[in-house]
């Protein structure tokens, strides 16, 4: 941080943060704050866009017309979330095009959960319940984040995410009322996604390099471990109501703490996935790159057409 005693801009920024007020795009902000926000919002936007793939893969195979409509609408919402977040990022001076380039070049990351494959229709429900549920735990505090456009985007996104979570849970609940094969499909899916869902909160607090500064800036509001605990406590009764178990022999209620004790995810696996060796990292980026590159001629056509229209309008004005 710079010398706050002599810098009125920095002092004003610190006062705003200290009061828990919002920083707006035209306000002065430290370079580090701006960089951190761009990194975090872009990563979030990319997660929405990459997150369209694992569920989108099942739109074509949805087993009822109603489920097809629900899933199609949900994946469409994710595209909408990506749009709001890219827009929030643009208020910090970075364009959607630049961010997309950074995504497909690997310079910016997205949530590692989407590097896991979707292998059955139950995964659509499990992603809604556990993955969207974990995302909500992470994101609800961000509605109060210090940067205005990000916080406002998050309010809208969180409402939609909670809707998706209920839909996912409702799918699993319906499947559990179905056949033995369907119940087995749900349990198998939960077994595969439980640990990756816990990883979504990031590494344990003592190994999370960026957390302290982000919390001081009011960009981040709760520690990784706190949020993970909250998620476990929330999910256990939901699993019981559903009739599934989590694959963790250490999971039990601790009356003394007033929380559930639980085991640790495989952090070596987590690091492998983060480094790019996850089951679907290459596939997800290749899919995004292909769509971006194959759409280039369409975007160029739209730009060229708009330019011709603008030139024609200008010409008419000149003649008048």
């Amino acid at each position: 941080m710079t010398d706050t005693a002599t810098d009125p801009l920095q002092a004003g920024f610190d006062t705003t943060i200290g009061h828990g007020d919002r920083i707006e795009p035209r306000d002065w902000m430290p370079d580090g704050y701006r960089r951190t926000l761009v990194r975090q919002i872009a990563q979030h936007a990319h997660s929405e866009i990459i997150g369209m793939q694992p569920e989108g893969a099942w739109i074509g195979r949805a087993p009822s017309l109603r489920r097809k409509a629900i899933l199609l609408a949900k994946v469409q919402d994710e595209a909408g979330h990506g749009l709001y977040l890219y827009s929030a990022c643009e208020t910090l001076g970075v364009s959607r095009g630049e961010l997309t380039e950074k995504l497909i070049s690997g310079a910016q990351k997205y949530s590692s959960i989407f590097n896991y494959p979707t292998l059955s229709y139950a995964d659509v429900g499990t992603i809604g319940w556990l993955v969207d549920g974990a995302a909500i735990c992470n994101q609800v505090p961000l509605c109060r984040t210090s940067f205005g456009p990000y916080g406002r985007a998050m309010i809208r996104i969180c409402k939609e995410e909670s809707f998706h979570q209920r839909q996912g849970y409702e799918l699993l609940m319906t499947m559990m009322r179905g056949t033995e094969a369907q119940r087995a499909m749900v349990q198998e899916s939960v077994n595969r996604f439980w640990w990756p869902a816990l990883m979504m909160f990031g590494p344990p607090d003592d190994e999370s390099p960026n957390s302290a500064q982000s919390m001081a800036w009011g960009i981040k509001r709760n520690s990784n471990d706190d949020l993970r605990q909250r998620f476990v406590d929330m999910s256990v009764p939901q699993a019981q109501a559903l009739g599934v178990t989590f694959p963790d022999p250490e999971l039990r209620w601790n009356a003394e703490r007033g929380h559930h004790d639980f085991g640790q995810p495989d952090w070596d696996e987590f690091m492998q996935v983060v480094k790019g060796n996850g089951p679907c990292n290459t596939q997800r980026i290749a899919h995004r790159r292909k769509a971006h590159e194959e759409g280039a001629w369409v975007r160029e056509a739209a730009t060229a057409y708009a330019a011709k229209q603008a030139a024609a309008a200008h010409g008419q004005e000149g003649a008048a």
């Binding site: 866009i49 369209m52 793939q53 989108g56 739109i59 074509g60 195979r61 949805a62 087993p63 009822s64 017309l65 109603r66 489920r67 097809k68 409509a69 629900i70 199609l72 609408a73 949900k74 994946v75 469409q76 919402d77 595209a79 909408g80 990506g82 749009l83 890219y86 229709y121 809208r156 409402k159 939609e160 809707f163 209920r166 839909q167 409702e170 799918l171 319906t174 499947m175 009322r177 179905g178 056949t179 094969a181 369907q182 899919h287 995004r288 292909k290 769509a291 194959e294 759409g295 280039a296 001629w297 369409v298 975007r299 160029e300 056509a301 739209a302 730009t303 060229a304 057409y305 011709k308």
Partner: protein, 327 residues
Amino acid sequence: MTDHVEPASHPAADSASHPAPDPSDAHGSVYDGLLGGDPSHWAFGTDFEDPLAGVDTTVPDGVDAGDLGTYCQMLADDALVASQRLSQWTSRAPDLEEDIALANIALDLLGQARLLLARAAAADPSLVPALPSGSPVPPEDALAFFREAGQFRNVRLVETDNGDFAVTVVKLLVFATARLALLERLSASRDHVLAAVAAKGVKELTYTRDYAGRWFLTLAQGTDESRRRLDAALAAVWPFQAELFATHEVEARVAAAGVGVDPATTADDVAVVLAQVFAVSGVDQPTQGALAAVQGRQGRDGLHTEALSLLLAEMQVVARAHPMGQW
């Protein structure tokens, strides 16, 4: 459901009052999810606005129930197969705005298909494929997921591959223009369900036709590359358009009964609209001949291209693995 915010590009979303469906209505099950009830069942493009609430679902006199059911299948299958194709663009469109717009159109068509298949099943239950005793699969899903390709009655235009964005735009322009002209007339059907579905569809297809028309113009006038691709797309799609206006004997009979519309009666209006789009875009009227029938049979007779069975293989795989499943 009120807390769910509509993506900006959707044309109209009035999710206001949805009166409860008549519980004495034997076909209420399909409309329940569309009209409200459990909000977790609700999704964009599937809510059915007031027109169908309390609609009389008895088969009008003077029309054969089998003909009405088959006619509803034709209209439903066009929408269902087109929706399945369009949804394949999800996460693959040229830009996020197009991803969202194409999903909206797919959702609109899916909503039409669901209601029309339910209507087909209600009009003539013998059309619904037999499932194991006690199967919870509703009749509209049985029709969608348990019929063979030869039992689908969609025109061949909608089942062909998406191709590039230009092919999709041209297909969508031709399909939406024809379907809009058809549904405008069908909204006067003596069958109250068809009239209500058509009235809702007219609003949706007006948007769809406009969307496709704007992109047609943009691609025509954009770059040399987009013009080259558009010309190629038009040449590839045009042979499929004539089938949209060929009158099947079932269509002739339901039209005579005042329940359906003879598609041939829309051909001139559709040609005028398309000619306007071509003229504004500076594109010559295509001259490719119509795709031949096979021993006189086309899509409406269950005779399809090679693309349909592959499309259905994907669409039906999970449902068929679980004929006793609940979703």
